[in-house]
Amino acid sequence: SSHEYKLNFRKSKELCLSYIQDAMLQKQWKRAAEFLTFYVESLEKDFSREHVNPSEMIWRIGTEILCHHSCSSMKEFNSFTEQMKTLAVKRYLKVCLEHAFHLLCNGLTNEAYQNLSLAESWRFGEQTAIQNKEMKLIQAYRGLLDYYSWSKQKNILLKQCQDGFEDFSVEQEMHSCFRKAAMNLKEIIKVPGVWDLFVKCYVDLLEFYGDHNEARQVLNEYAYNSRFPANPNAHVYLYESLKRHGEPKKSLISVLKILHDIVPSHELMMDFNTMLQKSKKRKKRQLGLEVIFAALDYAGWKQNVKAWSCLARQVKQIVTSEKHLDWIKQEWNSRKDWWPAFHFSRYLAKRNWQENENLSYEKALVAGILLGKECKYFKYVSHQGCKTRARRFRVLKKFVNKHNLVYLRISG
């Protein structure tokens, strides 16, 4: 019966697909390709209502095989992709985009550009929301390629300027590239998303032509628009831009403060801390201590000598001046139940000492102040340090002994 036929057909289709998959996962590309030629028959009677239908499957698998097959060439890849474009109208733009990416990855920038332009001019009936998005992406990538040719022209022009002659045709071409790139890039970054690459390029374009206001506005929008996903890079770009243009410390600090709130473990936190330490305001210096403590909470910062020396310096300063011990107390309060096991265990003392003496020195100082001289970490490191007769360890021991009562005050 027809139902049985359908059932058998579906079964053999699935079996064939599993063979292809099996071959691909064992890197038997030839075998996979042979099976794929059988699988093409499944297009003939496509009863499936699944998310990924056979034609999409063939496109994906075929691309994968052609990327790895030893006998495949760019020409074959192109002709396969052209066929795939006509196989399903709904997927046309997606295939075009992927095709362009493949060309770009193989260094064929011009072909990729042509492909993107062609895709851009494609029209078929009513556009769906997804197709709209894909079209925007295609335009954006074309804009990106325009940006690259712009920057190439720019380099030529700069070199020519250095050599002392000017070529108007290059300059004109550069300007036309700018216009094309700017138009497309501007469009895509209006849509909420993660557009680091596009934003960077667009800002570069704007800054070259001296449109700093527009550049600032773009970066602000990218960082602070709540419709965009929380992206730490957006704040980094804004910070870098402000820094480039010598903006006052205050605005830099306010940008980094927000970055600190989103990602306390960001590597810029070291800069932030340094900046805050230099400030004359007490509140900012307190924030500096908070920032360095928060960064050291993270597993990724555990071995960071710079951060530990930073903390050690600040803690030492506070203890010597005997002012603002409450700052340390405040920070220590939420950490005293787990920092000892996380940072100051005997095992870590041993390992830090073996691997990095500087690190163990800085950590021992912090441990000695926060936990007293009986702390395992401090005891081990100062003992080992004194054995080597290094002067700084003797000084360290003396310092901790002198301020031994601090730990009682901060943990009380």
């Binding site: 996962l25 890197k27 990416f101 990855c105 909420p192 993660v194 597993a299 996380f342």
Partner: protein
Amino acid sequence: GPGEPDGGTGRGPLLISRLISLQAETAFVPRRGGTGESWEPVDAAAVPLLPPNASCWISPLAPQDILYRGVLHGKLQTGKSVATLDFTKQLGHFFVDHPEDAFGSLGRLLHQNFYLGNSKLRVSVCLGVTTLPPTPPLAAASPRLYPFSLQGQARDSTIRMTSLTEEIDRLEARRGCPQQRLTARLRWFSHLCRDWLFEVPLGLLADRVHEELLLQWADLLFDDSPTGGALAWLPPEDRGAHTGRLVYPGGQAMNHLYFQDVVLEELPRVWGSPVQFELNGRIRQVAAARVDGEDFVGVRSDYHCGIWRVPDKTGMAPTPLQVIRTDVPACCLTVSPHLPGELAVCTQSGAVYLWSVEMGLQRLRRDPQTMFFRDHSPWRWSDFTAHPRVLSCADRTGLQCLDARAPERCHFDLFKVGEEASCQQGERVVLPMYLGRAHPSQHLITTQFSVYVLDERLPMVPVLKWAHMMKAPPLFAHVTPGGPGRSHKVLLGASRTQELLLLQYQGKRWGFSDAATCQLAGPPQKLHSIAGCLQHLPTQLPHRHCLLQQRLSSPAAGLAAALQEDGLRESLLVFQLSEVGDIFCQRLTHEAAQPLAPTEAELPPESCASPQPSAAVPSPAAALRYRRWLKALSKGCGEPPHQSCPPTFSQNRLFTRKELETPAGPSALHEQARQRLRQAMREGGRIQHWDPSAPQPPPLPQPLEFVEGLDSLSARLTAAWSGDWCQWWEERSSFNLAQRQRVLRERRRRQKRARGRRSLSASF
């Protein structure tokens, strides 16, 4: 539909430039593809590491067991995928398997009214006895009818059970007959007994059975209890050493926890005997993490979780530290990689706990509802993040991160099934895992369709996505971090299909701006599954082969891997645990000096498009392992009792003693027979004439003399008997031909004559 995530949270459309990334000025690097490290399997199939877990043989539940008979067929016809559970059969099983529970005391009470004898129900006349008899013995061998004071009453209130069972048997025999009708007596009986015969109220019992059936069916479709896997590898303290520890469950109910030293040689082998702990329930998950040089092993069973500390020195026994009991089954247990003795526990009631050996349990959340949209699954998961006080907390709809110091206030969404990650319809989180060993802020999230890598610092937008196309959702994952400039190796394992995939990805350990340049390196690779070694085992008898196949293809229950460095040569040993407790391993090697992509010439010639590519042959050492394993299997657990041997009868039941009596000594006849038997065996011939007393074959009955008057059938049979049937046929066909020719000739002659006569008359 029910699988539609409601993605409308006001975030608007989100486009992600995830496909490509920019590195140098204009060099484009594909997000996936490229070349990875080549890890080649050494052996043709997975090799057993341990002797089979002999005592464990749970015959797997098949859909046929609980589905309504014939429903599969019907389902295919209608094209609907609604399964009908065979509730009646299961309830019937319950009555047969647990009659005491079902009918116990009521049966005892009614005993008097059931007559179990074979004879006709007689009414004993016993006038004058008015007292009730003492409590009748329960299993009376010859039930008697206790006389009642009034004989008429006895007759009315007693049922002859034998006839009733006969009726039921007859009913059974007529099963499937469309004309079947219940006899009046049965109808009457069931009608009378319906409400009060059962010990457990029937409605309640039915509810429970149905509930259990639904549960079993759901488990059959997707069982998430082994999520995370029950196998852990504790690597040696210094990287050059060759002895590590494997932690795994075993025993009849998989309730024994073993810590076994394993030496990593060409084929890994066990060293010494394992340290063993007997636990209170089936072990579902074994999780391990190393903190400060000590390994902490968390073990989860349904209602208990425990933690063990394993000292770094080999030879020191692991010590159990603490056990907690839960009212609702626990579904997750992860061990903190940051702080010693800290774990995260989740239960199916939606509660998430931070469990510290020193501080006890701290509940971070309790919410029976799922986080982002409604999903029925009570499964929850929790893992650690880059911050030791922040835990990730997952259900099927996504992941959130909670700060244990203020779980109510401080949390953010890490991953959501929806538009941001361009998820498919019906996609659900299957297993989240913290990738701290590879990158301090990255997480792996698997769904039934894809694998995602998330960065805590850039939540919601995956830095890597790959559609894995596995047939069953990956319940197990393992990451082996690669050093600087190397790729991280991620192993994904599925339970039911035993699939095992190796994928490599690269992402710089440091620097945030590069977080977006996480890329998949090389095509993913399929590893051997346990079931794949079946073809390399010695040939078995068909029914044994079947059993072996069943055993080897039982669902996987865990996954572990060990990296071994030997100069330039690196090996990755992958261990796989099956649900019945067998552990198999395989070795993959990577030559550091070798060029990254092997050229075609180096690859073994590929076979053509055949379903099974020509299989390599296992090494002699592996073959020896297979043989030993098989021997141990057949010796140790034999076969499951109910399937093992065909029913046998003692000879005594078939023959009388006299018949079985053996003669005093071997007679000459016996000797002769034996001799002939031996000779026949030597020659490979047959023994045609068994009766030694008649060495000559009886003379064939002489064929009857060919009688003229025989009909054709008799003639044919006679010819066949005498062996010249062929000749007979020849003759017959030629005879026929001759006869036909003769007849034809005769006819022509007659016609001619007739024509001649006619023409003559016509001329008149």
